[in-house]
């Protein structure tokens, strides 16, 4: 009846698992109870869950990412704690089975369910506003993307309570991930979560490529787009080109596991190294999908807080697109030890070093933007400066690893772990936190508390160095990654320092939470009435904070780059733009529950596939098909915003601005 599912799937005999599961269930139940008691369900359903507004979808992505940051980081703390004590005769507190699940879950969650949703959330929120338009190309599809990502998150977290997660590392290399060596449901949880969320991500890519290439407001030529839009375009092109490879590769591994196929098996002529090639054909572009939008955030932040146009806009665009293309010809540097020979390794080593050139161009552009500017040291620019210092170091160790002979010594060691955390924390995490602080007032109408933000930044910055510099040393000393236990006591001092670093990062995350709570409690003192709290340069700062659902009462006409800056300069010169009083009605897409419904059926299908509950799978597939039919037969997909409503919102904004001015 229930396939492979039985009571033994719940880990009653593992205290750490049970406590974590109980805590997670308790938190979820408390939140649901609070929503029910306060009667917020209707509001949540109508204003958020069924919303197709790109700004709300962006906010929901970021909420998801922040929650998963907590989950992924608690895994990191467990690992650092284990390695700090598990030396010689001391086994530590995590058994190998559990330790392996934790490092697999940490990587999977941090990349797929923290970094990706955060980046996609920022793009969702900012790109349509920066392009001067009212929504993305396919708003309902956007909602489907969000909820499919959430479905992947749900399945991954269900594995904590029911069954196990993969013990294969975050990329599930075969032959270890084949049925023969991983017979339990761990790898299936991994594969189905990522298949479902991967489909969501692919649809996001299609949506944003179409939006950026086809829907820019009038006059917004390519060379007038804000750099964040350029980097978003590059990232989404990479999504469209890379995620189908991931889907196909996971499909092959699933066929191996479910139907006895021989893609990656060691028998029957299968080829495990083919998986490793394919997964990195996706995986290397993936790191640029994450980092390029962060480069975009830093470009916006550095220009805004230096009060200067971005230095070398065109070279920044060229560098972005160069990285976009080059990211597809470096994948083999993830496994120089495959034995492809000196020529192949030499090619990929050189390509890897070449990709550092456009990245270097970008660093100089940011430095020259700040040079001679009046730099205001707010939280976002602190992250930008911290990023430049940290990312250069990570880039240098990356170029070092790109030298095949050096890689033969250092591969799979903690040196590698230190390197990619160096670029991911120093690049992606600093980038998304800068973007979060930068656009928060636009999304909610009040700024975040500076003091707690700065405290968080310094803890992140110092904590990162304390946590990861010892790992470089350990890598050179020969410590490999993913060790549950080690015998060499001379490694322990370094691992104790690294654990201390993890605690400092924990303090940074606590500061982030306090910052959010304090800012919400004191929001009346930190209202942004002008819509332009940072003296911004791009279109999103020209509308109200938070913007109305239609973003712009009238689609802006763009005749220059940094158009909002130009308008403000013209205003200072006395060229007053007469405020409009007559408005045309605006057509906006109607809310739709289809995204949530599709994700519900995707979760049901994923769960029944993982546990081989075939009747439930049939129900889920039929339910999903019927939902699509019902959706396809709907006649009304758009509603009209009346001119009176637009005029009311515009009046309110002008009154607020006048109050600030007087």
């Amino acid at each position: 009846m229930f396939g492979k599912l039985s009571w033994s799937a719940i880990p009653f005999n593992e205290p750490i698992d049970m406590v974590a599961s109980a805590a997670m269930i308790l938190v979820v139940v408390l939140i649901l109870a609070w929503i029910t008691l306060k009667g917020h369900w209707s509001y949540l359903w109508h204003e958020w869950i069924t919303s197709v507004d790109h700004k709300r979808i962006g906010v929901m992505y970021i909420v998801l990412a922040l929650v998963m940051l907590l989950r992924g980081f608690s895994d990191a703390l467990l690992m650092r704690g284990q390695q700090a004590v598990a030396v010689g005769g001391h086994p530590g507190y995590l058994v190998p089975e559990h330790f392996n699940q934790i490092f697999s879950a940490h990587g999977t969650i941090m990349i797929f369910f923290m970094a990706m949703p955060f980046i996609i959330g920022l793009m969702n929120f900012a790109v349509p506003l920066q392009l001067g338009i009212r929504d993305v190309a396919f708003p309902t599809l956007n909602s489907v993307s969000l909820w499919l990502t959430a479905s992947g998150v749900l399945l991954t977290n269900v594995s904590l309570v029911i069954g196990v997660f993969a013990r294969t590392g975050w990329l599930a290399y075969p032959p270890l991930s084949e049925l023969k060596f991983s017979p339990d449901v761990g790898v299936d949880y991994y594969l189905w979560s990522l298949q479902i969320s991967g489909v969501g991500t692919l649809m996001t890519g299609i949506n944003f490529v179409t939006t950026i290439l086809k829907l820019r407001t009038e006059g917004m030529s390519y060379m007038r787009m804000p750099v964040f839009c350029w980097t978003a375009l590059a990232a989404n092109l990479l999504i469209v080109a890379a995620f189908p490879v991931l889907t196909a590769t996971f499909a092959m591994l699933l066929l191996d596991r479910y139907m006895g196929f021989h893609f990656f098996t060691v028998d029957g002529g299968g080829n495990p190294m083919m998986y490793i090639n394919l997964i990195w054909v996706w995986g290397h572009p993936e790191v640029y999908i994450l980092i390029l939008p962060c480069f975009g955030v830093f470009s916006e932040v550095v220009a805004t807080f230096s009060g200067k146009p971005l230095f070398g806009y065109r070279s920044m665009v060229a560098a972005t697109m160069a990285i976009c293309v080059l990211s597809f010809v470096v994948w083999l540097h993830h496994f120089f030890t495959m034995g492809a020979g000196a020529d192949v390794n030499g090619f990929f080593g050189v390509m890897t070093m070449i990709i550092a050139v456009p990245t270097g161009v970008k660093i100089y552009n940011w430095l020259f933007t700040m040079y001679g500017g009046r730099v205001r040291f707010t939280v976002p620019i602190l992250y930008a400066i911290g990023f430049m210092i940290t990312f250069i170091l990570g880039g240098v160790t990356g170029v070092l690893l790109a030298v095949p002979p050096a890689d033969f010594v250092l591969h799979n060691s903690l040196f590698l772990v230190a390197h990619f955390h160096n670029v991911i924390i120093g690049g992606v995490v600093f980038g998304v936190l800068a973007g979060y602080t930068y656009w928060f007032p636009k999304a909610f109408g009040f700024t975040l508390h500076e003091g707690w933000g700065k405290a968080s930044f310094w803890c992140w910055f110092i904590g990162f160095y304390v946590a990861f510099m010892p790992l470089y040393v350990l890598g050179l000393l020969g410590m490999t990654r993913r060790m549950q236990h080690y015998d060499d006591p001379s490694w322990q001092p370094y691992l104790l320092v690294a654990a201390l670093g993890a605690l400092i990062i924990a303090a940074a995350i606590v500061c982030l939470v306090i910052q959010l709570v304090v800012s919400i409690r004191t929001r009346d003192q930190r209202r942004d009435l002008t819509g332009d709290p940072w003296d911004g340069r791009t279109l999103e700062w020209s509308t109200a904070s938070p913007p109305p659902s239609w973003n712009y009462a009238e689609m802006p006409y763009v005749e220059h780059e940094d158009i909002f800056w130009v308008w403000k300069r013209q205003a200072r010169e006395g060229r007053v733009r007469t405020p409009k009083t007559e408005f045309a009605p605006i057509e906006m897409p109607m809310n739709s529950p289809i995204g949530f419904i599709m994700a519900f059926f995707a979760s049901v299908n994923g769960f029944s596939l993982i546990w081989h509950i075939w009747w439930l799978l049939a129900c889920g597939l039929i339910g999903g098909f019927i939902s699509v039919l019902v959706f396809a037969w709907q006649d009304h997909s758009e509603m009209e915003i009346s001119p009176e409503e637009i005029a009311r919102a515009e009046r309110a904004r002008e009154t607020a601005q006048a109050e600030v001015a007087s």
Partner: protein
């Protein structure tokens, strides 16, 4: 706020003010077609992964049957003919839709469907014959790659057939409205893209893969 029946009216024209450096947002029809093209490109990339896999595993027969022993060129030529004529009928359907001719649309859609279904029947028979002589996907990596690549194309054709039935039901209940027309435009793009995949498949799997 009032609910619009936007579907019944043609999409609004682009903003009338001319501009030297960009024309503002594209129309809905263009946007939908463009987005679907991007989707098709991503689908082709997914197929290219399966093609690459097939190329790597084509000789990994593990002592089992080879392509030369299994493939029958006659069946494949027949399959190709079915699919190409189905695509031709689909083109006729697009013309009938543009002329708003309901009868011609139904007839050409029916021909499209029958030829597509005929292709599937041939493919399933081919698979069944292979499985009956022990050439199953579990037999060797070569057969794994073969069944997955060709089967993935067949799955696309099957989904297309379901889609076409749904669209004909939509046409019958809703008539030539914008949403129905744009979905049928996407369908015909999809159907033609499957032909492009098939041409590559025919060449790489049946001609090149059948030679060793």
């Amino acid at each position: 706020m009032s609910v619009l029946t936007a579907d019944t009216s043609p999409p609004p024209p682009a903003h009338p003010i001319p501009s030297p450096s960009g024309h503002g947002p594209a129309s809905k029809r263009i946007t939908i077609g463009y987005g679907f093209w991007i989707f098709l490109l991503s689908d082709i990339i997914m197929f290219s992964t399966f093609f690459a896999t097939f190329a790597v595993l084509a000789r990994a027969t593990d002592g089992g049957p080879t392509g030369a022993q299994l493939f029958h060129q006659k069946t494949v030529v027949l399959e190709t003919a079915f699919l190409l004529f189905s695509s031709f009928a689909c083109g006729m359907m697009s013309l009938a839709l543009n002329a708003r001719n309901l009868t011609a649309t139904y007839i050409s859609a029916a021909i499209t469907w029958v030829l597509g279904a005929g292709f599937l029947v041939l493919e399933i028979t081919e698979f069944a014959d292979m499985i009956s002589i022990g050439a199953t996907p579990q037999r060797s990596a070569f057969l794994t790659a073969f069944f997955t690549l060709v089967g993935c194309h067949g799955l696309h054709v099957s989904l297309g057939l379901v889609w076409l039935i749904v669209m004909m039901a939509q046409l019958a209940t809703k008539g030539f409205r914008f949403s129905v027309l744009s979905r049928l435009l996407c369908f015909s793009l999809f159907w033609h893209a499957l032909d492009i995949i098939w041409v590559a498949l025919f060449t790489i799997v049946y001609l090149m893969g059948g030679s060793h």
